[in-house]
Amino acid sequence: MSAVWRTARASMRRRRFQTAVIALVVMFSSGTVVAALALLAASSGPFDRVFAEQQGAHLTATFDPAAASDAQLESTADLDCVAEAAGPFGQLATTLAVDDDAAVEFPATIAGRDDPAGPVDRLDLWEGRWAAAEGEIVLNTAPADPGDPGAPLPVGATVRAGDGTVLTVVGHAYSFGQTADAWVTADQLEAMGPTAVQMLYRLDDHDTAADVEAGLDAVTAAVPAGSLTGAQSYLALKERISAELGIFVVLLTVFGVLGLAVAVLIVANVVSGAVVSGLRHIGVLKAIGFTPRQVVWVYLTMVSLPALVGAAIGTVLGHFLAAGAMSETFREAGLGNPVVSPWADAAAFVGMPLLVLLAALAPAMRAHRLSAAEAISAGSAPRSGRGLRAHRWLSGTPLPRSVSLGLGLPFARPGRTALTATAVALGVTTATFTAGLAAFATEIDGLIQRHEAAQIEVVGGPGGPSGATGLGDQETQDLLASLPGASEVTANLRMPVTAAGFVQSAELWFIRGESSRMGFTDQLVDGRWMDGPGEAVASSKTVHENDLAIGDDVTLELGGRTATVTIVGVVMGSGTGTVYADWSTLTDLTADVDGLGHPISYEVRLEDGTDPQEYLTALTGAGLTGQSTRQSDAVSIAVVGLATMFALMLGTVAALGVFNTVALNARERRRDLGMLKSIGMTPRQVVTMMVTSMASLGVIGGLIGIALGVVAHREILRLAAAASQIDMPASALATWNAPQLALLALAGLAIAIAGAYLPARRAARLTIAEVLHSE
């Protein structure tokens, strides 16, 4: 065994370059594998993961403190349907103005909590500390870098509440369930005068809107009549997150799988190439008396040691890179801070060296079988006679000779060429995916947010932030329409309603105003938008789940009253049971809209050229608070950022594959290179020849990669949409255009050139004297 070890060590020293290439490729591949596995784990059910981590509230209810005592509210925690409860917490809907810049003012619901932990809504206090005394406030913000635009106010800043109270920011915490915009101590809130009291519940049964509604009914029955002023189900949040992230999760999963495939492919290529290029050495070892088994061990040791070193470094680097990137992405999206599973680290650290062994085993076993003379002969040069016709044809073309020689090189090693081209193709597939994802994300953001159709959203009515103004529904809408810059105002009220024949209760959006101009028409996948009373539009998931079709009548029932609507269109949407209907349907179902206790959301379409910030300022001046609808594309930005990181990693791994192929080719063709230089081939011509040999693969791999990327992107979107029962409008899938595809075609070329350049330079500097004078 010591002879094996000594020989392997000497061989590694002699082939330092190749040993370094193996270590480098395994390092990058291990890093990619860690990132890919971590991504796969984190992408699995992100909402449920973070919601469970924070013990999120299934139901957030607000009460009138004058109508229900704290003791009465606390007793609701003992209800059969309630698993856990937190509160009562005082709540105040107000505004917060940045103290040193009075022009910056934002609406805020402040809750009085002495502790960020508790049985429900365990807050992620990610910066600073919790409020411990009067005059201190903690802001609810998704974790972000302090330098980012839109980052929260720094710790130490002061804000002035609507009642004039000056508060110092002492920390930033994040409530995934968005139970409040900021927190102060219970005493501080008491001093500011709460307008409501908040209770947070986790329910035993909470899967459907009806379950949550049943929980709310039980709570309502347990407190004095009329004391409930508002309620919010976690399902609305879940629906929004799912709509924004659902498809992305599938695409990120594909990225993870692609990462694994490219890493495995490149490692197999590099390692088997290393053994094949060592066949001559194997022959020599056999000739001097090494047994076949010893030869196999020498080669396995030679590739395993650098692989182990590479895997160890790559796992550590991949761990930190993945942790950093995922943390940023998921936290930007408000989806917590996923950790890189130790299993991902272990799989990379153990799996990659095993893969290396496996990849080396096949050619090593071939070496085991070959006689010494056969091995020396097989390892001396690529088998001649391959691609001769191509060489002959290329010789006669008017191309510069260095280019035509380069174009012929890939034919000498068809297996290696195919593996390298496949790696480039997968790299380009990833780039194509990323580009498609970015375009898709932009399109989907626009469709979901509808910010082209409505720029401002104001939540009013009972329980909403604007409820404190005391304005009624119609008065609020009139006020919004009267402010400068308002072009059109629509109102919508969302609530669960029993629908005959539905497997679950329907989530109705009752819309008042010109709903056809609210941006929903862009989401249509079938039929048309409703244009009057008695008509309704359903989300595609609702249609699939309830086996509906356009033209079907649906009977809605609320509090014993019924109304029938006809489905006239289907829109993209993941909302379970989501149905859009005219406001008149709501008034058919109830005579007392205010009495329903559900907030009303107003959407304001601004006149062209109006600055949304100016409108928001005017809104604050009128005693109302609102927000821009263009706020939540952080998810897609973060997802695209992560995808870009992956594309770069996989592009690098693919380029390393090219690097290795050129290095092996140059090593095997040392004699030819020496001869070419001896007859006057300049270093630049050598570089051109070697780079051209891979550029052709880059072009071919690039074209295949684009085709694969486009087809896979569309098909996977279609499959993902079908699996989620979401249909998508054609505009969401038509994400490609000719200039974009032309640019992507260059990605393959870029990978090939980037990978080939350094070993080509090395080949150009080859010392030729000794390779020419003897054989």
Partner: protein
């Protein structure tokens, strides 16, 4: 027109050439001149420095000290690209093991050297074909090197070496891998080339080759020139 009484101009000039590999001096102060039209054979035991000297003249390696001038060009002043262009325009080499590209036909191997200088494929092939014809292997032009005999391969290598009309042809053991018959053919070819004015520098162990082909023999030992004699070539 050269004056017949004047000696031909110097083509290669080495002055105090020294090459060290670590502590070992492969060349130790070699000075030598080769005139146009000469056929010089360099002989000596293995490791005497003759191949190292060939590398210096071909611009394949750089001396530790001393100067090499070929056709008026000081090789020490040339960078790698300059040396490549020098090899392309001024010299050519033939080797013991031919060094033909296995993937190219005989015709394309010969044309390759011309194509690298920018000559169009058709023109390069035409010139290559003429040379193959002159060397008697035109009928082998479409074969690959593996299908040729050793002598034919070396003729193809000579054709490739001549395609750019070099001022100096360097031959490193040109008959070392050939049987005696093929070796004789190659010797005849070299003699013919020299007789039409081609300057030759032949590195060889073979006294017969040196005697037949060279007009001057330079003997090497331990990196130094230890002897030199002029020959009357046997017809």
């Amino acid at each position: 027109m050269n004056d017949a009484t004047q000696p031909p101009p110097v083509l290669v000039s080495m002055d105090g050439l020294r090459k060290e590999y670590g502590d070992t001096a492969a060349l130790d102060g070699v000075s030598l001149q080769i005139r146009r039209g000469e056929a010089v054979a360099v002989m000596g035991p293995s490791g005497s420095g003759k191949s190292t000297m060939l590398n210096m003249i071909a611009g394949l390696d750089r001396p530790t000290a001393g100067a090499v001038t070929v056709d008026g060009k000081d090789l020490n002043g040339l960078n790698e690209t300059g040396r490549a262009l020098f090899r392309r325009r001024t010299i050519s080499m033939i080797f013991q093991f031919f060094n033909l590209l296995d993937d190219l036909t005989v015709l394309d191997n010969v044309a390759l050297a011309a194509q690298l200088t920018g000559v169009r494929a058709q023109q390069a092939r035409q010139r290559a074909l003429e040379l193959l014809d002159e060397l008697g292997i035109a009928d082998r032009r479409d074969l690959y090197p593996a299908a040729l005999s050793g002598g034919e391969r070396q003729r193809a290598a000579v054709a490739r070496a001549l395609v750019n009309r070099p001022a100096l042809l360097l031959a490193d053991e040109p008959t070392g891998a050939l049987d005696s018959h093929a070796g004789e053919q190659v010797m005849d070819l070299l003699i013919d080339l020299n007789q039409i004015g081609q300057t030759l520098l032949i590195v060889t162990h073979d006294p017969n080759l040196a005697q037949r082909c060279a007009s001057r023999i330079v003997e090497f030992a331990d990196g130094r020139i230890v002897g030199e004699r002029t020959l009357e070539r046997t017809p």
